[in-house]
Amino acid sequence: MTDTCNVNVQCSGSCVPGMAKDMLLPQLAVVTAIRTDTPDVKTFRVESVSGQPLFDHMPGQCAMLTLPGYGEAMFSITSSPTQGEYKEFSIKRCGQLTDALHQMEVGQQIGIRGPYGKPFPVDTEFKGKNLLFIAGGIGLAPLHSVIEFVRAHRSDYGHVNILYGSRSAADLVDLGHIQSDWMTEKDTDVYLTIDRPQEGWDGHVGFVPSYLKELAFGPDCTAIICGPPIMIKFVLQALIEMGFDKKQVYTTLELKMKCGIGKCGRCNIGSKFVCKDGPVFRCDEIDELPNEY
Amino acid sequence: MQAVSKKVLDRARELMRDGTVSRVAGWKAGEFFYDCEPALFETEESLKDLVYNRFCAANLSKFLITNDIASVADRGRTLVLLKPCDTYSFNQLLTEHRLSRDNVYILGVGCEGMCDVDRIRALGIKGITGVDESEDGKKLTVRTLYGDGEIDVDGVLVNKCETCKGKAHKIFDELISDNEEEGPRGDRFECVRELESMAPAERFAFWQKELSKCIRCNACRNACPACSCRKCVFDNNASGIASKANTDSFEEKLFHIIRAFHVAGRCTDCGECSRVCPQGIPLHLFNRKYIKDINEFYGEFAAGEEAGQRGPLISFEAGDREPNSVSDKGGD
């Protein structure tokens, strides 16, 4: 991690020869595409300025984005490593920095550093398994990367079920792509739901946990969940009732992060750091942690 | 002090036992004899740890609001032990509607001045393990790992006690004191006059030296009863000044000067800021300067003298001085 600075960074003349490149230094990147997904979610495509790949990542990992004047924040990488050299981030507007991110335009340069965290075990535990993805709202972002990875290595995995819910139809992130690509993927079933009935929606209406119980999936699969904390809690309860073991269930957590490398000391849950030991956790591991997340 | 102390402890127990109060906010014996900590006693049994001695300098008024003790009526009344100077802070918090009077039962406790262990240490006394007060309250026998010695109480008083405002309690439900009539000790504005008499460059150098020690721990602010904002501007990331560290010599002054201006007219000169500062910065000098100026501009005024008073900085009279009088007074 401390290899000598190879100047991916566009130094303003002050780069010191032989200086070790610190993990805290961002690379220069550019926003090459922006997609408006929902009234408060946009997806940003980020690529390096030099044309070289930014870095390699695995599904579930995160990166720290710098927005000039607003500082840094950690976001889940939404795109799959199989999708190309770019990184995509689906970001919900919910605070100062994300407000400002939503104001960005194509061509804007930003800083990026990463990848951080432990990815989903797509090459090990997930291999050969049936997979059940359960997401709520912007919680689809980290799962999106896994789903695309699985699609790219389709024969390595068993049957895939995707259950995705949001407040309204307009709040389903990247719905067009889900309908055109995921719903037509072989051996894959997609179940969508929204919280309240609305005109023009003839799909399922109801919260994710109750729809999950209705669907009554058998426990012969690995579940991967992400969404608001309250949804995760009820989904986990439902899965246990449906006969799942916590060892079959994975989720990804979020806490405030500053460094991304387990040193700044703020994203810990007990002795584990979300940025380094997570963000992906198996649910039986979470049971051993204090309830402080 | 011992006579008052015993009466205070007994009375606190009685008030708890007879149901007048449901809990006691007082001081608890610490690790050593000198580090008595503010504490909330919820049971009569726990009152065995209650102490009132020469090392109970902490002002419990702020303690009542940081812990929301006095805002919860349905849990019964809280007995709070207040020294004379603490009652000014209490009144000021009442004025600012940060406390509910009905939820608090005030036992005014007599005070002969509190001692500061750092001043004992400053005499070169190390490894202090115990202290005994002489009968007349004038001497302390200090026991240490390296031998015993005797010192004068007067020489080791907490800064705020050296220029005590007087021993009269400004608000109480009940009083245990044998020196209520005693007036002020020393002239608390002498130090301000000293500062005022300095040449600007000399005064600047004085503050530069003091404030450059600041580590931005916020102890002064968090202990200050006048700093009762729900969210401090220095904690607000949107303010642009929430930097957490003094990134330059301007910033270290900025923090303290803004804070002092914000409490001007409301500061009761309780001295907690200087008492808690880990770097021993005499922060109370800012506040005293403003108190002295306010007295000179608008007539004698003591924040917290009584509850409900309108301070001169938040009321207007036709004869008030114009703002430029401040710069005129500041000289060049």
Partner: protein
């Protein structure tokens, strides 16, 4: 202490000359008094070493992990961005007068900052700094380094020193320390009757042993000498400790200030913030405190909304989480600064007594 060339001695009255000689090539930091308080500052003519002062207000950690340091500067022009890293410190320096507890404090920080991925900024300062420790003269009632297995009579670092009356013995422990002492070997003493740093003889070494022995006796008498780490550390049950009801009572009067954190030699949590100078934006790292309410605050709330949770975090980190992550080592060195400085007189000794082994009470 064996008789060999590596133990030197210097007259206490010649220390200024020692600092002056070292200062020709590098900065020498030592505890310096400023308006009544001691903190580390560079030596300059007129500054003298006070052997009586036990602890600086802030520990020496700031020399390796400064309270505030720039990481990058960047500039935005229209849509483009120019990022310029700030080079890590590469100047040699000496820190003199560090106590055993603070030397161990560096090791606590090393485990965090020097394990992969290495913190370049910290490492640069560690690489370029030489640590000269001095055995503490008179331990105070607040000292409890022994609880963490620290031997105050072997303060460590690159060179360790012992005051034997009029003289100070200097023992090099590392090559770096050896080289440092060697660098002033050609300097003469103030009187002009010999070398500044002659080799110590048998009598000197015996005197040092006597000083150490007397010190050990005092350490045994310290009020906190019996405090143990029993009930904490790697083998303690995390959730049991976390769920102890006493945390609320222990933290009831915590003001939520950062005094304990900022005077602590082992607290290493930091924040990364930005400052727009108008010309460019400086990103800097600053000490942070888990006692502050914004430490874990996110747009949708904080996992530690109450002060007792933040208080618990600080002590769980030192006594349980850190040991879990670093092979049982504790993140406290018993320097006692928090015992002296907490405005509410809360501290780790009280926590350990309340929650720890039966012998602690």
């Amino acid at each position: 202490m064996a008789v060999n060339g590596s133990v030197k001695k210097i007259r206490m009255s010649d220390l200024d000359r020692f600092f002056s000689a070292l200062s020709l090539t590098q900065k020498v930091y030592l505890p310096v008094e400023k308006a009544g308080q001691y903190d580390y500052a560079p030596w300059e003519p007129g500054v003298s070493y006070d052997p009586e002062e036990l602890h600086t207000v802030k520990s020496a950690k700031g020399l390796f992990f400064p309270q505030s340091e720039d990481l990058i500067k960047y500039r935005r022009e229209g849509l483009s961005l120019a990022i310029g890293p700030v080079a890590p410190e590469d100047e040699e320096f000496v820190v003199f007068g560090v106590r055993a507890c603070d030397v161990k404090g560096f090791e606590v920080l090393d485990r965090v900052f020097l394990t992969d991925p290495v913190d370049t900024y910290y490492k640069a300062r560690r690489d370029h700094g030489t640590v000269i420790s001095v055995m503490c003269p008179k331990p105070e009632e607040t000292c409890f380094c022994g609880t963490f297995g620290i031997e105050a009579e072997a303060p460590g670092g690159d060179v360790q020193c012992f005051i034997t009356g009029e003289d100070m013995l200097m023992e090099a422990l590392t090559e770096k320390g050896e080289a440092l002492l060697e660098s002033v070997s050609g300097v003469g003493n103030t009187n002009g009757d010999g070398a500044l740093l002659p080799a110590a003889d048998e009598t000197d070494l015996k005197a040092a042993e006597e000083v150490k022995e007397a010190h050990r006796e005092i350490m045994k008498k310290l009020p906190l000498a019996g405090l143990t780490t029993e009930g904490f550390g790697k083998d303690a049950d995390l959730l049991t400790l976390f769920d102890r009801p006493e945390w609320k009572e222990l933290s009831a009067t915590c003001l939520g200030c950062g005094t304990c954190t900022f005077v602590c030699p082992t607290c290493q949590c930091y924040d990364i913030r930005e400052y727009d100078t108008g010309r460019d934006i400086r990103r800097f790292r600053v000490w942070d405190s888990c006692m502050y309410s914004d430490f874990t605050m996110m747009a949708h709330g904080s996992p530690r909304p109450e002060q007792f949770q933040r208080f618990r975090q600080r002590f769980m980190h030192k006594l349980k989480y850190y040991p879990d992550n670093y092979e049982g080592a504790f993140s406290c060195v018993g320097c006692g600064r928090c015992l002296k400085k907490c405005p509410s007189s809360l501290n780790i000794a009280k926590v350990m007594k309340k929650l720890g082994g039966a012998d602690n009470d």
